[in-house]
Structures are given as structure tokens and as C-alpha cells.
Point group: C2
């Protein structure tokens, strides 16, 4: 339960003997001075700050090689207290107790977990409410403006001081996710994997606007006293209003509707006065009031300003450049109803990583919880985190994981399709499997051909299965195009049994030919003799082994034959390099009248 820092000093692990079920038990927040007064830290804004103390908690034990350390970064109103209780009498455990603990998704039996209160906070780490050594009173507005990069720099100094030499992963949601992104950029060799959740590379105008109104409310509070309110009453009204605004942005419209609707607090009838009477009003009032008790108004100003300033695109002259030197594996997660940091904002990060050819997986989790989903969707989010951590920590362990079940891809591949496609892929090629399902083909190709694998799939479960196998896979609808991939950036793109299910096959095929040096396409042959015969003699939409669906419930939105496809290629100026008309389970191509006898076909195509 102890680990030794290089300075030889002994740090007591805060994971205590007293254990709750599945809980890390009683933990103690510790404080460490990482910057001394006489050697202050240079901040992004150009000013210097010192001393700097950092409050942190740890859970689990570091292993002998020190490769099991996970850093968690908290969001606006969070703190170092992630899991367990600080006191047995505490009513609530830490803010991510559902995620962190023995046997939980961030498993403290396996990993050593650290979280620190960030710079500028008000829960033990140096911030505007700390004493300014120059004046002997709290900094207030004399505290220098801080940035997300400053927060990360302080975290790194803390880890150095604790003797941590590497991080298995950095994980965080919202503003925590911004820190995670900054970690990947600033310390590429220190961090094996990063998991930015429900975050963004920059706030949009709407989010800045909400932050600005919140700050306005604090600054307009008559108790604010230019930030020196520490002797008198706190600017509670202003901070409360700021928190209420924030809280609305953390929930989704649907979530609020389901939780509160138009319910009245006390009666079925309107009171006809101006007091709060809808449940949602009293809930927000309560949220505002309780926040005021535990949070510092100046910290709110500084942290929201740091978030507003965070802009990787501006900082690095383009989001692609920001990640150019990143070395970590990325798992990006967004939530469908998050309108503060939207799925589209996560996708922008994913795209920049794809353009940089980084190891990135992405999932947009369906949820009605809005931005708060990163705290509430523990089960869905936790599975991704746990699988991704496991695949990073011990890549060979995937087979033992029970997540690797059959994916829900609508039509399983035929082995014959598989084997032939495998044979067509060169050693060590980069391969993008579009509609990769559970990643079986990519895993085989990785093992047999040592390819650089990546996948795209629409289904969340498929993404999870691939993440679990250590494959980079992106949840994405290829019908939207994929401009993040540069021209000819992939050796081989695979589109297996998917062409005929697309709304716009021409658009997608053209896009894949742009991305890939070669595109391997397979599809069922509608001009197979069985189809012809059925239409001719029965006068019905054919239902065959290769096309097993009824006319009204088929996932195949288009009927296509070998001849149709070949004319299509001609029209698009596409070169057909190889063609494999196939019959049943035979690997050898159909030679005689292939458009008549083949049940499916595989084509290797390319376009300059």
C-alpha cells in the first residue's frame, strides 16, 4: 500500500484498509507542494505563480514496473475526490465512484489511479482563494489567468514529484477531457492512451455565451467586491445564477422533460405569484444554493475563462497540427444528447486524428442525459473504458474478455468471402474495413499479414467489440463521406457485402476510391440464374440463398449484377484489377457465364 518516490520519501497510499463493497473505502485527500515560492512556474499568460500546492487522491497500488498508472482529470465543479469517502459519515462518495473501485470499470485492483484538483480550483490546489504570498490575503482577481495547458503542466509536475514515470492512460470528461487532449499533445511519450469524453477542442460561440453570462452574473453581484469578498458575504446570488445556467446546459431538453416536465412543487394549481413553483425551478434553485456552499466564485470565473480560451485549432494553427506529434492511443466518446460539447465536436477531434493516421477509436453513446451523461452513463461508458484500458494494458488479454461476442451486423460474412479477401491483401498493408462488424476480418489480417488495421461501423456494439480487440474503429456513417482521410492514404479499403445496402452507392464508392489505393468490393449477384428464374417463372422479387430477404424487409436497397457493377465502374472510370465471381462455398472463381452462375462477386478496383 505504499510506493516509493525517487526522492526516497515515503508516500502513504490513500487507499485504506477499511473497504466498502466495491468501494475504495475511506480515502484521504493529500496535498503536495510542487512549486516553491522562490522558483515560480511560468504560465501561458506570461505571469509567474508560486508557491503551488496540489490536492490529490490515489486508489489502488502501483505495480513494480509502474505501467499501471491512470490519471483522472476532473471537470468544472469536480475535485480530487473521485471515489470512496473521505469520512465514514459522508453522505455521498466521490464524484466518479460508480466508475472507479475494485472490480469496477476503472479497476483499482488492477490499476493505480490518481486524481488531483486542478490549478485554479478551490478544493485544495492553489487557486484564487489561496493566500497571495505578496499580500498575505487571498489572491482574488490578482490571481493570474490560467489555461488548460497550465493545469496539465501542474499535473505533470505533481506526477514527477510522486515519481510516476509513465501513464497507462489519462481519462476525463468535459473540461477534464480538454486536459486529456492537452496531455496527449504536450507529453506524447509519457502517455500510452487517452480517453477524452464529452469534450471539445474548442468551445463554440454558444458555450462561450453561456459562460460569459454566468461570469456577468457573478461580477454584477453587489457582494462581489471586485473579487475581495472573503471577509464579507460571498457573491452567492451571482454564483448561484451562473451555476443554474450551467446546469441547464449539462442536461438535455429530453432529459429535463422526462425528469421534471411541467410538474409543480406543491400543488396541482398555479399559485399566481412570482415565486418558483415548477419543480424544475426549485431544483435549479437548490443546485445553485448548494453549489454556493462548496465553490468559490473567483474559481468559477477563472476556470470558465480557461475553458473559453482552450482552442487547439488556434493554438496549433489547425487541429490536425495539434495532434501531429501525438503518440497515444485515443478513445473518444461523445453522447448523443450532449448539446454543450456535441458529438460533432468530438467528431472534429476524431477527424483530425484520422488525418494524422493516429490510433483512434470513437463512439457516440446514445443517451438522454445530455452532457451529464459522462457522469451518469456509467455502464455504457464504463464498458468502453474498461475494454480500451485492458486492450492497451495487456493486448493479449482480449480473448479472455466476455465483451467479444458476435456483433449485431445484419448479415454475417461468408467464410469464402473472408478467405479470398485475405489472400488479396499484401503483407503490412494499411487496411480500412468499412462496415467492419465485430472486427473478425481485421483481426485475422493483423495476425496473418501484420496489417495496419482500422475499421468503420455504424453500430455501437461493433465498435465495442473492436475496441476490446485493440482495433481502432470509428462509429460513423460512411454515407456522409469521410474527408478526414487524405487521398490514397489507405493501401486497401474493403467494402464487403455493403454496396447494395447503401442509399447512395455511387457517392460512397467514389469516396472510397479516393481514400484507398485499392478498393475491394463484394456483393450478392442479382443476375444469378436463380434470381432470373424466379422473376421469370414466378413473377416475384427473387429470394435466394445470396439474397435471402423478402421485397419489403430487405436491407438491400439496390439490386446489382456483375454486369451492372462493371458498367458502373466503366462509367466512373474505375479500373477493375481482379474479379472473383463466386459460387456457394467454393473458393475457385466461376469461369463459365459468371453473371449467370455466380452468387456473389469480389472485385479489386482502383482509380487514379
Amino acid at each position: 500500500m505504499v510506493f516509493t518516490a525517487p526522492q526516497g520519501r515515503l508516500y502513504t497510499n490513500s487507499y485504506m484498509a477499511e473497504n466498502f463493497e466495491n468501494s475504495v473505502g475511506i480515502v484521504k485527500t493529500q496535498t503536495i507542494r510542487i512549486v516553491e515560492t522562490d522558483s515560480p512556474l511560468s504560465l501561458t499568460c506570461g505571469k509567474e505563480l508560486g508557491p503551488i500546492d496540489v490536492a490529490y487522491e490515489t486508489y489502488g497500488e502501483i505495480n513494480d514496473t509502474g505501467d499501471n498508472v491512470i490519471l483522472i482529470c476532473h471537470a468544472l465543479s469536480g475535485n480530487a475526490h473521485v471515489a470512496g469517502k473521505n469520512d465514514p459519515e459522508d453522505k455521498k462518495p466521490g464524484w466518479w465512484d460508480t466508475m472507479v473501485g475494485p472490480g469496477k470499470n476503472i479497476d483499482t485492483n488492477k490499476y493505480f489511479v490518481i486524481c488531483s484538483n486542478f490549478l485554479g480550483g478551490c478544493s485544495g490546489t492553489t487557486g484564487p482563494s489561496s493566500v497571495n504570498p505578496v499580500t498575505g490575503t487571498p489572491y482574488g482577481l490578482d490571481f493570474p489567468i490560467i489555461t488548460i495547458a497550465d493545469m496539465v503542466k501542474v499535473q505533470k509536475l505533481m506526477l514527477d514529484k510522486l515519481g510516476i514515470k509513465q501513464l497507462l492512460a489519462v481519462i476525463g470528461g468535459s473540461i477534464g477531457g480538454m486536459q486529456v487532449l492537452q496531455w496527449a499533445i504536450d507529453y506524447p511519450d509519457f502517455v500510452k492512451a487517452v480517453i477524452p469524453v464529452a469534450t471539445t477542442s474548442h468551445l463554440g460561440a454558444q458555450s462561450i455565451a453561456f459562460d460569459a453570462v454566468g461570469r456577468n452574473a457573478i461580477l454584477a453581484d453587489s457582494n462581489f467586491a471586485n473579487g475581495q469578498y472573503h471577509q464579507g458575504p460571498a457573491p452567492a446570488h451571482g454564483l448561484g445564477i451562473a451555476r443554474m445556467i450551467g446546469h441547464i446546459t449539462y442536461l438535455s431538453e429530453q432529459g429535463m422533460r422526462e425528469k421534471f416536465g411541467r410538474e409543480l412543487r406543491t400543488s396541482d394549481d398555479y399559485r399566481y405569484d412570482l415565486d418558483p413553483e415548477f419543480s424544475v425551478e426549485t431544483y435549479l434553485d437548490y443546485k445553485g444554493q448548494t453549489f454556493v456552499e462548496r465553490f468559490d466564485a473567483n474559481s468559477y470565473l477563472y476556470i470558465t475563462k480557461a475553458a473559453d480560451y482552450f482552442d487547439l485549432k488556434k493554438e496549433y494553427d489547425g487541429l490536425e497540427n495539434a495532434f501531429a506529434n501525438a503518440k497515444s492511443r485515443f478513445l473518444i466518446v461523445s453522447f448523443s444528447s450532449d448539446w454543450l460539447f456535441t458529438p460533432a465536436q468530438s467528431e472534429a477531434i476524431v477527424n483530425a486524428l484520422v488525418t494524422n493516421r493516429k490510433d483512434v477509436s470513437f463512439c457516440d453513446i446514445h443517451s438522454s442525459y445530455g452532457h451529464d451523461a459522462f457522469l451518469l452513463e456509467t455502464e455504457k461508458l464504463g464498458k468502453f473504458i474498461s475494454c480500451f484500458l485492458q486492450a492497451t494494458y495487456d493486448p493479449e488479454s482480449c480473448s479472455k474478455c466476455n465483451c467479444s461476442k458476435k456483433s449485431d451486423i445484419s448479415k454475417p460474412r461468408e467464410r469464402v468471402d473472408y478467405e479470398l479477401i485475405e489472400a488479396l491483401i499484401p503483407q503490412e498493408a494499411s487496411v480500412l474495413d468499412v462496415g467492419c462488424g465485430d472486427g473478425e476480418l481485421l483481426i485475422h489480417l493483423k495476425k496473418d499479414k501484420n496489417i495496419r488495421a482500422e475499421g468503420i461501423d455504424l453500430q455501437r456494439n461493433s465498435v465495442l467489440n473492436c475496441v476490446c480487440k485493440g482495433l481502432p474503429v470509428i462509429q460513423y456513417d460512411i454515407e456522409r463521406g469521410f474527408s478526414a482521410y487524405d487521398d490514397k492514404s489507405i493501401d486497401v479499403v474493403i467494402l464487403s457485402q455493403t454496396l447494395q445496402t447503401l442509399k447512395d452507392p455511387e457517392k460512397v464508392f467514389t469516396e472510397l476510391l479516393r481514400i484507398g489505393k485499392k478498393v475491394i468490393v463484394s456483393f450478392p449477384n442479382f443476375a444469378n440464374w436463380r434470381c432470373r428464374l424466379q422473376l421469370l417463372t414466378k413473377g416475384k422479387a427473387p429470394v435466394t440463398r445470396g439474397l435471402p430477404f423478402g421485397w419489403h424487409n430487405t436491407p438491400n436497397l439496390h439490386v446489382v449484377s456483375l454486369k451492372d457493377f462493371e458498367q458502373f465502374c466503366k462509367k466512373l472510370g474505375v479500373t477493375i484489377e481482379k474479379r472473383f465471381p463466386l459460387k456457394e462455398y467454393r473458393l475457385s472463381p466461376v469461369k463459365l457465364a459468371p453473371n449467370f452462375f455466380a452468387e456473389q462477386a469480389i472485385y479489386v478496383t482502383s482509380k487514379d
Copy 2:
């Protein structure tokens, strides 16, 4: 330029001789006392209020029969000054000058337009800043709580006093739209048509929350003085913050992004202080400040509370009941990016009206302007309003209107299809045409068979063309189902040349069979001999006269033959009452081997 009220008193029309181009010119806001002190008005809250003065403006001239009067209802921060200028030196014209004027979409050459400041406002009509006759000082918080119904009651009293006997239409957006809905409910015989735009039958939890935070900010302002701030400084900070919050909800995320992005006001570099520096911040500051100059904080409290209280579902024990006695024609318009009063909230109103079998048209206009679109999308919105007004005012005039152009429905009907379907419809039947396009079939049926017509279409242009023809038509995707229609509420539902283009034909067909006593379905026959021959001999996806598309760009997502459809009906337990296999342009059905020779087929189906 004058009209005579029944009392014999002469009201000067505020439309003055001095005309700007396309402007109503210089107008004067007038005031009329509609409730005397000694005979106060009973309000919804149970209290009484008197005297009540109303500020209003009028534009255009009332005609001899008095059937060209349009009432416009304004939104939260609006007033009676809709169009023109009150003073030649005014920098800006009235708030809807783009919509109202000679030759504009609400044409003052044709219509007589009235708008009054609503009860509780601060622009001339009695409100919290008016003098309380009991105390001789402004009401402040002694003003009684008012409701949307109270506002409407006051508008009606004003019209009575002005001698207006009927309204051609009531039009309004946002809170104005709530008044419009209330008009249709409270005075069904007085109002021929209503156009509620960007509105809702009730605020959801999120909107109430935003209103509540805004009110909190006003109430928390140290200058608020319990509402009696009229002698001292106004609660400008609080009202400014409330306005800023409101303003964010009026814009869409996309709109803000496009308008402001992360642009800085003065420099390319961050200033690293807490002052507003993003353009969006300074814009909101400006909006807050200018609002404070022209608006009363108490009015803001009362009006937002009236909006929060507005709940037709609660008031009438179900939204359907609210509209049970409505007699007006309805044109409901929402905007795609409006997240304050969403398209779904407009659809809920539409559904309640559909359930009540009312004359309702609906369009969701694509816009990035958010809620503010009702003020900004003048062209798109104006076309709908102008056509709807015209079709209501003079139903015979449609043919003269240039809006009635070909709609953009992908596949025009064949005349043969038309004529046969017409022959199948009984006199005076109620007919729902699903995918009605430009409404040609419905118009023919209306003329020849005197049917009760209604349509559904996906395309905005189709809806516009139908509205212009006086047809009730709803912009809607039938694949979502349509539970608003009661079982067997329509005599004949038509699904012409659409079945095969649906993602889920079974779901839609089943839903239409539930709604309609009979469903007429037509589709192209995939088992026509040309198709069979082409697939057999050419080995290609057939391209024929009836199925003229290539395999990859066809809108037909399913291939279906007569035999397929008949088996499908059998599976679903659907009775085929009549069948018309058709060939080319011949009206007489194919008798010999219809599944082989017919190019298309029309079926009359039903299901108990």
C-alpha cells in the same frame, strides 16, 4: 384613410400620406381605454384590473364588409409598432416591417392590419409600470399576475371598441403565437384563420428553467427594491442578464457559430484578463444594455411568467380538447433550428388539430436562425403567410397566384393513374393523399367529387403549392407513423407510386390501413415482361418505362410485383377489394397474365 367605429366616433387611421417605398410610412401609436376604473376586468388569477389602456397601431384600410382585418400579436420584447416609422428620424422601422406593408406578404394594400401592445407590457398598454390608481404610484409587484388568455381578452375588447366584427386572421410568433392559439380557442366564430408561428402549446422544462434563471437575475439585482425601483436606478444588471440568457435561446448553435464563431473583438491574441473579449460576449453585452433602455424589468417578470403558465393541455385537460370547438383554418409554421419552441412542439399542436379533424396545414421551414427565424426568414415564411391569407380571403384567386408551380416531387403521376383513382373515390368522401405533391389530384377530386381533402408531403414546396390552393396539407414523414389520425377516420387514403420508395413499406401500409377505411395503392410492376426479359437476357437490373432508374440511383428502395403485393396483403390479412393492372396509357385493366403484362397496378385495399 378613416374608418367609422359603431359608436360613431372617428378613428384616424395611422397609415399616413407620407410613404416610403414598400413601407407603410410614418405611423402613430394610438391609445384607447378599453376598461374603466369603475368596471374592472376579471383576470384568470381571480383578481380585477382597471383601468386598462391599450396602445395600438393600424396599417391599410378596412373594406366595406370589414372582412379584411388581420390582427398581429407580438412576442416578449415587441410592441404595437409593427411597421413603418413613428418618426422620420427613427433609425429602425417597426419590428416586422419586412413582412407588413404595401405589396409585402401581409399586404396593407389588401388587408387592414392591427397590432396592440399586450397587457402587462411596457409600451403603452397597462402593465406593472403603469400607475396604480389606488396608490398613485407604479404598480410594481402589486400588478396582478396575467395570463395569455387575459392578453387575448384585452385584445378582443380593443377590437370591440374599434368596431371590428370579425378577423380574417390572427398572426403571431413565439409568445405572439400563444395568443394566436388562444384566439382560435376563445373566439372560434370571430376568427377565420390563424397562423401561429414558432410557438408551443406549453413551455417545456428547459424553457421554464431559462425563464426562471432570468427572473432570478432580476430579483437578485440589488436595485430591484422589491419592484419599486422607479424612483432610483433600474435593476439593469439583472434585466441585462435575463435578456442575454433569452437571446442565446433565440439563436441556434449553428447560427451563433456562423455569426460569431470564436472571433475576438479587438485583437487576434487573447488579452488574458476577465473582460469580455469574444465578439459573442460583447454582442450579448450590447443586447443586454440596449434592452435595459427600452424595457421594464417588472414587465419581463410578468410576461415570462404568463408564458410559463401557458399550458393548453393542462387548461383544457388534454390538447385535443383545447381545439375541440375551434373553427378557424390553421397554418402552423416552425423552424428547423428553433430549440426554444421546437418543430416537435408545433407538431404536437398539428397532431391535436388532426385528431380533431380541423383544417390544418403545417410546414417546418429549414433555417439556421433558430427561434429568431420568425423575424428573419421573411421570404420563406412570408410566402406561406401570403398564400394562406389569399386562399382564405379569396379561395378562387389561387389560379392567379404564381406560387402554384410544379412541385419537386420526384416522380410525376401518370394521368392514367389519376383518372382511375378519381373514378374510385365516392362523392363527398374524406380523402388523405399521402405524398400529395402539388395537390393536383386532391384539387381535381375536390372539384369533381366535392371531397374533404387533406394531404401529407415531405417537401416544403409541395406544402406551399397546396396551401396556395387552399388545401390543408402537413409536412410530415409518413415513415414515422401518424398516430394523430384515429382508426378509420378517413374514408379513402391514397398511396400513389410511393410504396416502393419507402424504407419500411409494411409499417406504413399497416398504419394507413388503420387510418383509412380504404387504402388505394399504386406501384410499378417489377415482374412486367420487360423487366423479366432484361434480367433474363441482359443479366442486369431492369431499366424500363415504368422503372426508369439505374440500379444505383433509383428512388425505388424495393422491387415489388403484383404477385409480391398480393402475397404481402395476404400475410397482413388485408382485403384486396379491387385490382387494376395497367399498361401504358390505357385505362382498361390488363386481363391476360396481368403480372406479366402490366406496367403498374392500382389496388383498393382495406383491413378491419
